[in-house]
């Protein structure tokens, strides 16, 4: 199952907890035995409602050894969104530290999920004979990561053990493992970038993984000290983390970083150079990855290079093609772009997902004869290096976290006084993009606006909440009736946003 058939040590800098390899192995066995007694078995889908802890990683291995498929759930999601995901994934078990609130437990039970308190796994005693697990087939489902649709039609990326292993082997071949021997993760373990690549690639190669809570501001302002104290050699990140760190954190005193990745959002040449100066790392690379391809797919592992806006580099364990067509049914070879010509970025990799959970229609829309349409626009230069020039995917890239307009539209549409709605990207100094929203309402009095704000807060996770929202008379649509998000965003720049929650609060 593992790249080196070896699990590395796990440490949690904030609590000081440290499990060496023997402790990790022992806990895997103990927790596997506990989950087996709970009835977890081959083929079960299991929600994990916690992440970024040593227990999460050990549980992942325990579930895989039992033949189950793990589904990490973002802890920021609302009960409504968890209910939606459970409806789509039909998990047989739902793992929590402690217990969910009664209402959510009831909703999960209605979907057939049994609640397990994962904290009890540590109380497993020697009274029960350890369970060894079973032989896991490479084509069994291993991991499902939901990328969108948490409020409506969930899109779950299904990876098998084969596709995950292909990603890790490709990375090992392209990047080696030496630079990853003390790896820090500051990213959420519910996303491909944080989980599959930043964490699992080094850890399953026997390297030491240091786990911190994701995007926690007080950690980032102390990043230099954290790197020093734990002698970190590698971390991956997103531009947001670096903008805050460069502004507020003292650089490491004794730089030991050997390699730094930045990904999930466009990295400007300016920020790239600033990261190089701050970290003193010999290798600062822009990494390009997509959950569907097991994340890290290409990067600047190309020897000497000068940072440039949009520069990605060479593929890791795959082939990249640029075409003029976005049609998955068209013959790709017939429409390939010339060197330097921008077009659709397609990828062929053994690390490609099995498909979207229960959505063959969506899978067929982006996969053709093993080629995956990324939704990005880019070009290949004469050296075969990839440059990104834009994207066609309908998403808001909020500092590396992807927010899908349709998810927010779906929630606001259900508000009883909504006539029409349009979610769009707004520019943000730190994040690059944030969430904007325009809504047509049957009533626009202050109590109605407050009720809509409360409705959104109740149904949307914090990172999905609109940063600014506007009441408008109409939503622009194109000739086919499709919402024109760009036109709406442009129109709203001349309007004043609704500000309710701030106006009613004083201390």
């Amino acid at each position: 199952m593992f790249v080196d058939l070896a699990l590395g040590p796990l440490s949690e800098p904030l609590t000081g907890r440290h499990w060496d390899r023997d402790a990790v192995r022992a806990r895997c066995t103990r927790r596997l035995t506990f989950y087996a007694r709970c009835g977890v078995a081959r083929g079960d889908r299991v929600f994990l409602h916690y992440g970024n802890t040593p227990e999460f990683f050990v549980d992942l291995i325990a579930l895989w050894r039992l033949g189950a498929c793990a589904i990490p759930i973002d802890t920021r999601l609302t009960p409504f969104e968890i209910d939606t995901l459970a409806g789509a994934a039909a998990p047989r078990f739902s793992l929590w530290f402690g217990a969910p609130d009664a209402d959510l437990a009831q909703r999960l039970a209605a979907h057939g999920a049994a609640i397990i308190d994962a904290s009890e796994a540590d109380t497993e005693t020697a009274d029960h004979a350890p369970v060894g697990g079973e032989r896991v087939g490479l084509d069994q489902d291993a991991l499902i990561l939901f990328t969108s649709g948490t409020t409506g039609e969930p899109k779950g990326v299904v990876h098998t053990h084969r596709s995950l292993r292909a990603r890790w082997m490709a990375l090992r071949h392209a990047l080696g493992v030496r630079a990853y021997r003390r790896t820090l993760c500051l990213l959420p373990t519910t996303f491909g970038h944080g989980l599959i690549c930043n964490c699992l690639f080094p850890w399953l190669s026997g390297q030491h993984l240091f786990i911190a809570p994701p995007f926690k501001a007080d950690i980032i302002v102390q990043l230099g000290a954290l790197l020093d104290e734990h002698q970190i050699t590698f971390l991956s990140s997103v531009p947001t983390i670096w903008r805050l760190a460069l502004k507020t954190a003292t650089p490491p005193r004794a730089p030991r970083l050997e390699r730094v990745f930045c990904g999930s959002a466009p990295l400007s040449a300016h920020l790239w150079n600033d990261i190089r100066k701050w970290t003193h790392a010999p290798e600062v690379w822009n990494a390009y990855g997509i959950t569907e391809t097991g994340s890290w797919l290409a990067g600047t592992s190309v020897g000497e290079f000068t940072p440039e806006d949009g520069l990605i580099g060479e593929p890791w364990g795959g082939v990249i093609k640029i075409t003029r067509t976005a049609d998955a049914t068209a013959h790709l070879d017939a429409d390939e772009c010339a060197v330097g010509e921008s077009g659709q970025v397609w990828v062929n990799t053994p690390a490609l997902m099995r498909g979207y959970l229960g959505r063959d229609d969506l899978t067929d829309d982006v996969v053709a004869a093993g080629w995956f349409r990324t939704g990005d626009i880019g070009l290949l230069d004469a050296r075969g290096w990839l440059y990104l020039r834009g994207r066609e995917r309908d998403e808001i890239n909020k500092g590396g976290m992807k927010v899908y307009p349709a998810d927010i539209d779906a929630v606001v549409e259900r508000f009883e006084l909504t006539v029409d709605v349009c979610t769009f990207a707004i520019e943000d100094r730190l994040l690059g993009e944030d969430v904007g929203l325009a809504v047509v309402l049957r009533q626009t009095d202050p109590p109605t606006l407050q009720r809509l704000q409360d409705w959104m807060t109740q149904h949307l996770a914090r990172h999905q909440l609109p940063r600014r929202w506007y009441v408008v008379d109409e939503i622009p649509r194109n000739a086919r009736g499709k919402v024109n998000r760009a036109a709406m965003a442009a129109r709203c720049t001349a309007l004043s946003p609704v500000q309710l929650s701030s106006a009613r609060r004083t201390v």
Partner: protein, 83 residues
């Protein structure tokens, strides 16, 4: 408008949902209420108010800005020293 109300207005306008019982001594940073993007925006906002070339790496920002009361004191102190 009082400085602390300006601060509150700014924080909530940044999309941060504060608890109903937020007080002047509620932890904002160490508790995780302010995430990395909100803290970055706050840093720019404080720089605007203080109007001096603040070196934000020269003090423990997570400690000195952790509550509304501490933030208020920080801004007032630096405003005075800038006069």
């Amino acid at each position: 408008m009082r400085l602390r109300d300006e601060l509150l207005l700014f924080i909530t306008a940044s999309g941060i949902v504060l608890p109903d019982d937020v007080g002047t001594d509620t932890s904002l940073i160490r508790s995780g209420l302010l995430d990395s993007s909100a803290l970055f925006e706050l840093a720019l906002w404080v720089e605007d108010r203080v109007a001096v070339g603040l070196d934000l790496t020269s003090f423990d920002l997570a400690e000195e800005w952790d509550t509304l009361a501490k933030l208020e004191r920080f801004i007032e102190r630096h405003r005075r020293s800038a006069l």
